[in-house]
Symmetry: C2
Subunit: 360 residues, 2 copies
């Protein structure tokens, strides 16, 4: 079959990791008889440099007309980037927010688990991780503080800034349904995270999540306050199966969860809309400090391509093949620098892509 994929290389290491993911996809196409047609668009800092905006309307339309989007990374995760002084809508990240909103990608799915072979890299002690951990963060992605009204104004000579956190029951319901659906295919546990002892939006969140839970009698639901969850992730990550939470809490907790795996260069993510369309990207950032050196780890992007095959194209067998190829290459002892450990063979970005493609 033929599929149309929008590629967004983005900034920093984005182009080199997307290149390797494409290499692997093409190999999948060859072997399983699919044709992937790619269109590349600019987003983030590179789009600002070319067009003065982080995402053009035209680029958004290209993405909308395709079957799925594969993204490298945009902007920088660093506080003092070169876009530091820019207004939010002139920053590379605004491209990401615009595409999420523009394509209705309300469900951000971020798996965070411990790779057996990379347990050395996990920052947590063996006593804490016990038999490992394996969770999925389901983060609402198009509501909350990210998209509420905001303004900065001077009142009686005093500068005041306001952001608004809004959720309605429909927004909460659809993301809760996603979380419960995912839990049904896993260990059937949902931990819904909020700050219901303070926020009205969190109280509505709890109420709607409990309503949704009634349709899933087999799933065990519990509620956890966000501050407690930030602690529990460090103290006992094994307790979590599916974590369901709102946009800002999800931003913080999913980064914390990725980091405790010790393998953030290995974690993929999907941002889905109501149909099968999705945007797939690694959980890590654009790492401008190592861009262009052929040392970045492309595995998270390659595994994001596997998620794309599975979720948007229903190509389970092909997705399995990519995931299996990654496991094999790790077993063979190949590592990029970020996951290097004693006795392994250190290779670069492009070589890693080659090894994985060969294993398909």
């Amino acid at each position: 079959m033929d599929y149309n994929i929008t590629l967004i290389p983005g900034d920093g290491i984005g182009p080199e990791i997307v290149r390797e993911a494409r290499k692997v996809m093409d190999r999948v196409g060859q072997i399983y008889g699919h044709t992937f047609h790619y269109k590349e668009i600019l987003m983030g800092g590179c789009s600002i440099d070319a067009y003065g905006v982080p995402l053009t309307q035209e680029a958004l339309e290209t993405a909308r007309e395709s079957d799925a989007v594969l993204l490298g990374a945009v902007g920088g995760n660093v506080g003092n980037s070169r876009w530091y002084d820019a207004a939010p809508d002139k920053r590379p990240e605004a491209g990401l927010l615009a595409i999420r909103r523009g394509l209705g990608l309300f469900a951000n799915i971020r798996p965070a688990f411990l790779y057996d072979q990379l347990a050395d890299a996990c920052p947590l002690k063996q006593e804490i991780i016990g038999n490992g951990f394996d969770m999925v963060i389901v983060r609402e992605l198009t509501g909350g503080l990210y998209f509420g009204a905001r303004r900065t104004e001077t009142i009686d000579g005093v500068m005041t800034a306001v952001d608004t956190l809004t959720y309605n029951e429909n927004e909460i319901r659809r993301i809760a349904v996603k979380a419960f659906d995912i839990a049904m295919k896993r260990r059937k546990k949902v931990t819904s995270v909020d700050k219901a002892n303070v926020l009205d939006s969190s109280r509505l969140w709890r109420k709607v999540v409990e309503e949704v839970a009634e349709d899933y009698p087999k799933v065990e639901l519990s509620h956890m306050l966000v501050d407690n969850c930030a602690m529990q992730l460090v103290m006992n990550p094994g307790q979590f199966d599916v974590i369901l939470t709102e946009n800002m809490f999800g931003d913080i907790l999913s980064d914390e969860a990725s980091m405790i795996t010790g393998s953030i260069g290995m974690l993929s993510s999907a941002s889905l809309n109501e149909s099968r369309f999705g945007l797939y990207e690694p959980s890590h950032g654009s790492a401008p400090d190592i861009a262009g050196q052929d040392i970045a780890n492309p595995i998270a992007t390659i595994l994001s391509a596997a998620m794309l095959l599975r979720f948007s194209f229903d190509l389970d067998q092909e997705a399995d093949a990519v995931e299996e190829a990654v496991r094999q290459v790790l077993k063979d002892g190949y590592r990029t620098g970020d996951i290097m450990s004693e006795g392994c063979i250190r290779i670069g970005t492009a070589q890693m892509g080659d090894r994985i493609a060969e294993r398909i």
Copy 2:
């Protein structure tokens, strides 16, 4: 001298840990010739049970008229407490919010450091903690999402909830000044944490923090995004000296920071207003599951009393004596269950208070 202290035992283990702190304070009084006068007030679940509200106006006035407040804990840190269904202003935690706001306690100071003697309890690997870590979180406590306007309403049949995140430059300035003042007495590094790539309030935050920084040329300021900070705390806690942040981010990050010390039962906190007045409390919660069993660790509360002596009463020598007594007792090998390790002597809550008081 004579000092008036308001005691708030609160809920759960609160009463038993406050009792031990009072024991230690009284011993300090005896030796150094001070008289501490105590008034007890109810706050939290116990106040709801007695008066139907988490904090009466009269109790607030008692606190206001005293020189400092020592608090055990209120409510429960557990999502499914018996107040679960109550409206926010009818929950135990509302007492805490009311006293913070009522007494203008805008500066929450939470030290988080690794105890040499308790390094075993730290969930992070030795490679990560290296030579230990020692930071202070300075959290804004009377603004932001916690105290902004909120409402839940039905619009066209759809339930919608709104919370508001507001900061003005004066609120930001005074907490930034606190953080820089604290940094001047430490390693002279401030990491200001925000989400300036999304929020207007965070952009104002950065601007004002940079203005304040100009008055402290010796302090090194950096900015970090909140999601990145949640990662960095796990990956490299040693990089932090003073973390400065707004209310909700501070709630999440300070709990995460306490947890990575592995000794949350050992960490104290202070909530200060513009004068010398403050409320002092342990960083941990009310632990209702172990209440009344004489097994809770009173050390965080005893160290909070030491902070009280230092910050509100200027009794540095006395505060040092309390801190030194705690160190001695740990050196002697006494431990409550939460910090127990091989070869140590396990004792209960009251015994721990006795041992520390004896060492003054």
